[in-house]
Amino acid sequence: MKRYTIFVITENFIGILNRITIIFTRRGINIDALTASESRIEGIHRITIEVTASEDTVIQLVNQIEKIIDVIKAFYHEDEGVVYQEIALYKIPVSKLDGGLEKIIRQHNAKIIAAEPEFVVLELSGHKEQTQELLEILKGYGLLEFARSGRVAVAKRMHTIDSYVK
């Protein structure tokens, strides 16, 4: 079992996400995280799926995803093969803001992106381990809310989706 990032390049077609997730559901495989967005090319979407599984399983998942009629291409990478980032938001009560917290924000390179009379919202982008570390610390500061995005990623190899989109 290992962590893999699956990229899916698809047409923008209603229900495509459903068709993709069904493939995971059938095999009882949990999707760790999923993000979808329009790609650099108009009308083409890219879906990034993070999954923990054996490579054999991932190969079969990718083959079955690629079999979906409106999927243009699907491929997978190990963590080493991608540059990836996640974004996390932390909501902290103003009453807990003190010198200690300021130091923590600085050390972790987090940003205050909103300040309201009763709370502030911190933002940190990075790998899960980094956002998780800050989460554990902030639990001691009366953390009100926490949200983390799925992985957005690009492959390290010099290869673009244009070759699949003719």
Partner: protein, 564 residues
């Protein structure tokens, strides 16, 4: 401009005609009524068969598609009409049968509001279709249907569903039919990799005990001639899967039998003794492989397959040739050397003689008083036409009929293989017969399965389709009972049936019927049935507790195939 505009419902029918659909199997209802109204005007150009249940319609479309090689077309209304198609969709997907199913849907403005007979058929059919789409505007109908036909019949065939809202059927739109020839996200033609062919050829040439397994891919790829040429040149023994039967005539010298749980003895045993295993258009179903951890471990496996997702899915292959087997077989035949494998072939014949003595003799020339399913099929072989189609349901009779039916032509095998759908046979036989009334269609069915779709006798009555129905009646859900006997200590939990008088039922539908209980009457009854002009119902009362052998029990290896 308005003159060029026609009703969406007319677009549906005109597009079906453009796609060369000759026949629709269906059932009307509120949300599909505009299309039925349009059909009224085109009844001279496209036939419609009114089944008695939507499940009957889709299985009939499957039977039609399997025998004709064309796309089966099915029409149903929204809600329950649509959900009744689901079993057929799942069946067609797992058995790669090309279907276009059109369902009506509530008007677009009512979608998502729990309107009368509204159901999310798009969501529900997603895991059981190759592709599906909802159309909400009249002008989108023709492109959607054109694309649906293309997807259903190309690549690895499969079922497609188009859900058309009622407003799209009643609104006017431009009829802009253009055939679909392909699109960027869907590759249908795979160029055969020559290096793969050369590598596989070298492995085959070096083999001492090569062995070919063939499946329905040979039929779907229309590669019967190429397959035969490959066998003729290489002299390799070949065994068929359930759905591959008929792709090679059984009297071909290389044919060694049938694979799997209730297949023949030699083909299963020798899977674990060959040195090279060549799989052509088959997918290593668990009913073929038994325990995969003990399946052909000694062999180099070569897989000729169209669907990349099938490569190494359940059985790891060493060499794969991706693409249409019509192309890959031709190239492979060119690349391999002429050979014969007399000694190796003799091994198959030896084990075949063992099976004959231990099983076949008992089945086809029984000494017991009760009739066996095997002798019934054996007698059918004596009188049937070479191109007779065998349609079976699911269970003991299916395995026995498959084992003993003498397949001589391609597209003569119609059964629910992957899904194992009881109730499939009667409507599928109707559909197969609707393709060609002059063809013999023999429907073999059990007393359990026939009662799941027995209402389709009404469709047979109305269409006068000359289907020959053989009911093998043992008053049991026989296959489940066999398992209860073998693996559940004979605890016959809910498998015995109190049955109605089937002959009376069939006669009530105006179908000529006969019941046979004595061996002495069997031959004549079968002959009478096959020469009868019109549908015929023959009930044969068979031995109550007979078992199907050989058998590979669940979890066992192919070499643990049992003869008793």
């Amino acid at each position: 401009m308005k003159d060029l505009m026609i009703r969406g419902a007319d677009i549906v029918v005109k597009t079906l005609i453009e796609e060369n659909a000759e026949i629709i199997f269906g059932y009307p209802g509120g949300a599909i009524m505009p299309v039925y109204d349009a059909l009224y005007d085109y009844h001279d150009r496209i036939k419609h068969v009114l089944t008695r249940h939507e499940q009957g319609a889709i299985h009939a479309a499957q039977g039609y598609a399997r025998v004709s090689g064309k796309v089966g077309v099915c029409l149903a209304t929204s809600g329950p009409g649509a959900t009744n198609l689901i079993t057929g969709l799942a069946d067609a997907l797992i058995d790669s049968t090309p279907l276009v199913c059109i369902t009506g849907q509530v008007a677009a403005h009512l979608l998502g509001t729990d309107a009368f007979q509204e159901t999310d058929i798009l969501g529900m059919s997603m895991p059981s279709t190759k592709w599906n789409i909802q159309v909400r505007r009249a002008e989108d109908i023709a492109p959607a249907i054109a694309k649906a036909f293309f997807i259903a019949r190309s690549g690895r065939p499969g079922p497609v569903l188009i859900d058309i809202t009622k407003n799209a059927q009643t609104d006017f739109g431009e009829f802009n039919y253009v055939p679909c020839l392909g699109f960027r996200s869907y590759q249908t033609k795979i160029e055969i990799n020559k290096t793969d062919v050369e590598r596989a050829a070298a492995v085959i040439d070096a083999a001492e005990r090569p062995y070919v397994l063939f499946g329905q891919g040979v039929v779907l790829g229309k590669a019967e001639a190429e397959f035969k040429a490959f066998l003729d040149k290489t002299g390799i023994p070949a065994a068929s899967t359930l759905l591959g039967s008929g792709a090679l005539p059984q009297d071909h010298p290389n044919f060694v039998g049938k694979l799997g749980m209730h297949g023949n003895y030699a083909p299963n045993m020798l899977t674990n003794q060959c040195d090279v295993l060549i799989a052509v258009g088959m997918r290593f179903d668990d009913r073929v492989t038994g325990d995969v951890k003990r399946y052909a471990k000694q062999a180099k496996i070569i897989h000729l397959e169209l669907d990349p997702a099938e490569i190494s899915k359940t059985v790891k292959c060493h060499h794969s040739i991706l693409g249409d087997c019509k192309d890959s077989l031709a190239l492979l035949t060119e690349a391999v050397s002429q050979k014969s494998h007399k000694e190796w072939m003799e091994r198959f014949r030896e084990l075949e003689r063992e099976e004959n003595a231990a099983v076949v003799q008992h089945d086809i020339t029984p000494t017991k008083v009760g009739l066996t399913m095997g002798e019934v099929i054996h007698q059918v072989n004596q009188y049937k036409a070479d191109d007779a189609v065998l349609v079976t349901d699911v269970g003991q009779h299916q395995m026995i009929a498959w084992r003993y039916f003498n397949y001589k032509k391609s597209r003569t095998q119609v059964t629910s293989g992957g899904l194992g759908t009881m109730g499939f046979a009667l409507p599928a036989a109707l559909g197969a017969q609707m393709f060609d009334f002059s063809r013999q269609v023999v429907c073999v069915v059990g007393d359990g399965g026939i009662q799941m779709t027995i209402q389709e006798l009404g469709t047979i009555m109305q269409t006068k389709a000359p289907v020959k129905i053989i009911l093998l009646n043992n008053n049991y859900l026989g296959m489940v009972r066999q398992w209860q006997q073998m693996f559940f200590d004979k605890r016959y939990s809910f498998t015995e049936l109190d049955n109605p008088d089937f002959v009376k039922i069939s006669e009530a539908y105006g179908i000529k019927s006969q019941k046979v209980t004595d061996r002495a009457d069997l031959n004549e009854a079968i002959e009478d049935m096959l020469i009868h002009d019109g549908p015929y119902f023959l009930e044969v009362v068979v031995e109550k507790e007979d078992n199907v052998f050989p058998m590979i029990a669940t979890g066992c290896s192919v070499e643990e195939v049992r003869l008793s």
